[in-house]
Amino acid sequence: MSNETPLLSIRDLAIEFRNQHGVARAVDNVNFDLWQGETLAIVGESGSGKSTTAHAIINLLPGTGRIAAGSIKFDGKELVGASSAELESIRGREIGFVPQDPMSNLNPVWSVGFQVEEAIKANNPGMAKQAVRAEAIAVLQKAGLADAAARMKQYPHQFSGGMRQRVLIGIGLSANPKLLIADEPTSALDVTVQRTILDHLSQLTKASKTSVILITHDLGLAAERAEKLVVMYRGKVVEAGPSLEILQNPKHPYTQKLVAARQVTPRVPHTSTEVAVKVSNLEKVYSIKGSGFKSTPFTAVSGVSFEIKRGTTLALVGESGSGKSTVAKMVLGLEKPTSGEIEVDGKQLAGMKPAALFDLRRHMQPVFQDPYGSLDPLQNIANTIAEPLVTHKVGTRKERQERVRELLEQVSLPWAISTRYPSELSGGQRQRVAIARALALKPDIVVLDEAVSALDVLVQAQILDLLAQLQDELKLTYLFITHDLAVVKAIADEVAVMNKGQIVEFGSTAEIFANPKQQYTRNLLDAIPGAKLL
């Protein structure tokens, strides 16, 4: 392969999907080149066509999708219109693929070893059984599994998410392909795991001079990992070129917005002496059902103590399984603590009578993570927002309607959506509705459990702005739970870092970012993608 011609060359690519209303063009006029040994990142928000473009290369378009126009030239061969036999010989052997979700992309009924061997056999027909096995072990070793030979017999559920993604990367690279397509390979994983996986991936591909197409929604991650960026927006490439140049000198307004969203202006700290929420020595032990009648205790949260001052934000940061959401549920009175005390507005939560707890709920409301799950799909928006008012018998019908109108205005949504159902709204808009519902009873305290984690960067920035603005207007106290340290800077006054059910570090946001004392906190901070680039 000469250095004069690119390994992959996409020209005027257009992809269409057929639906009830006719044909929709999901991707239009996409052009880019990829040379051997290069890593190229396709960046874009959900629905921008980034995954669709990548899937088109190996002809894995879902459902009714088809390539409507353009050409995809790989290693001198035209892939558009190639026969399925030709594509099969390229897929896996010359172009490897690492899928997005490590949890669902390994078949749970076959051992991991079997699945790796299957991939090797598919790409090397006629290989001896012993050789296949040896090769599979080598692949798993290369993927970073220490005791590869022993783990061959294990099943996917015995592997952690990171381990599974390593296996999938191993399968993707097993045939030494010239090109590896990685579709959001780490978006389901914790940041620290993400970092080791991506380090590992780049190490492997650098060694074998494999070209990589990395698909991601995270501009920082893309710039950090790839030499070249392709920024996609609504099915079109809006900007492409060397990563650092784009990051430092974005020319298209959309890219400029993306870059701006990454440069968070640190928040002016809010302070107060009045305590709104006080948690001391909180502990939660679940009993995990074992075989038969046995059950083993599992400590999800232990020895957690903190205070949130009125009108300020405390961010509870930690990776999945650190116990942060369990703390949130206990503060909300949705789970009973095993021991320890929670005081809200000076009132003890433990031993509270149902009527008192009901009253307390007026002062404390949650916003949950999943914008697609937190609104009842069969209730229209006005009814959803009015539910707290109806439940607490606030006002007359007319007054309630007026309040809903006011709340919609506060979260910048038009009144016209009040008779509509959640299915018509985007993730960000649903989250606004959830915020409006939380604010309906004029609470003092709002518990935000990963409330912006599922949103696209620009929408996320918008919601964070809204939350900050509402906090100032309504003097709200926030308990902000997140795994994403990048958003903490924009919203939190104080940060508590949780690991394995305990708070390992506590301090003001500025302190934590400038001078982390614990290794765990340092790891978290270092793992923020692209942190060092900006």
Partner: protein, 313 residues
């Protein structure tokens, strides 16, 4: 990109950046049931099934609109197993009664058994399924095991036993109860599974945090979101109930011969199958078409209520 390191920027006029997260709403509100209704109205199967069901219903309610001949009057043995004549388009039974009139008047029996059984299974299935799925723990354990016991007994067999025991009280209500009492566990099971899924949703937790009572959450949020598959299953099982009534009547443990029923007519026609097949064929056809109509309707509803199936068409 002719150059390897070219910095490409799209034409700004052709790729304008829209307002972030702008609200775009359609002309009409949409949710699962509204979408399903709109989808149904585009399906030929829905109309065919609908017209058939409507026809049977009108026939059952107002038999006088279809025939002036009464089913058991003017039965002349001279007409026994005779072919069609003027005013008697389908011929005569062994007893010399008008087949067409008997079919028209028999429709109300089939339909009422179907509706009563369905109402019963729906009421019992939804009640027990919702309790088991939503409250879980010992309620679930108790109700699910009770359901399993009913499941273990084939409902036709159970109905035969019940009808034999209550042989002196054979009427539409008793036969419906005999079928329904063993049919509800499947409805309960479908609903229980759905409720187990729906009750995990964040909106249930959000309502709990608002302070909505458990029962209200079940009625307002959980049930409406889990009832869709039950509706589809129930429509199809209505057909099964109609067939079950005919089966029991055919076996001689159904309704008394004095009651007009397609099952009874089929039963009585078997002796003359070779000589006068029309006596058997017409009521069988009426039964099949009615059952088919409800099955088609159930399938249309099931597809319409499944957003995934809708998207794939």
């Amino acid at each position: 990109m002719a150059n390897r390191n070219e910095h490409f920027v799209a034409d700004l006029a052709a790729s304008e950046v829209a307002e972030i997260d702008a609200v775009r709403i359609s002309e009409k509100p949409t949710n699962l049931y509204l979408d399903a209704w709109r989808d149904l109205r585009k399906r030929p199967m829905f109309y065919i099934a609908g017209v058939l069901i409507l026809a049977v219903t009108v026939m059952a309610l107002f038999p006088g609109l279809f025939t002036q001949t009464l089913p058991n009057d003017n039965c002349l043995l001279a007409n026994s197993n005779a072919g069609p004549t003027d005013g008697h388009p389908l011929g005569f039974t062994r007893q010399g009664c008008d087949i067409y009139s008997r079919i028209v008047h028999g429709s109300s029996t089939s339909l009422s058994v179907g509706l009563i059984v369905t109402a019963m299974t729906m009421a019992m299935g939804v009640f027990f399924g919702a309790l088991a799925g939503f409250y879980g723990r010992w309620v679930d354990a108790l109700l699910s095991r009770a359901g399993d016991i009913f499941f273990a007994i084939p409902y036709i067999l159970a109905a035969v036993v019940i009808m034999s025991v209550f042989s002196d009280y054979r009427n539409v209500w008793v036969i419906s109860a005999a079928i329904g009492i063993f049919a509800w566990p499947s409805t309960a099971r479908v609903l229980r599974g759905e409720i187990l899924r729906v009750k995990q949703a964040d909106y249930v937790m959000a309502s709990t945090a608002i302070g909505v009572s458990r029962f209200k959450i079940l009625m307002r949020h959980v049930l409406p979101n889990s009832i869709a598959p039950v509706i589809a299953v129930t429509t199809i099982s209505l057909a099964a109930a109609i067939v079950a009534e005919a089966t029991l009547s055919f076996l001689g443990v159904g309704l008394p011969t004095s009651t007009m029923s397609w099952g009874n007519d089929i039963s009585q026609a078997q002796v003359d199958l070779r000589t006068a097949p029309q006596v058997l064929i017409w009521p069988s056809l009426a039964l099949s078409i009615t059952a088919l109509a409800f099955i088609m309707m159930g399938e249309a509803i099931r597809d319409a209520l499944d957003p995934k199936a809708r998207a794939q068409r």
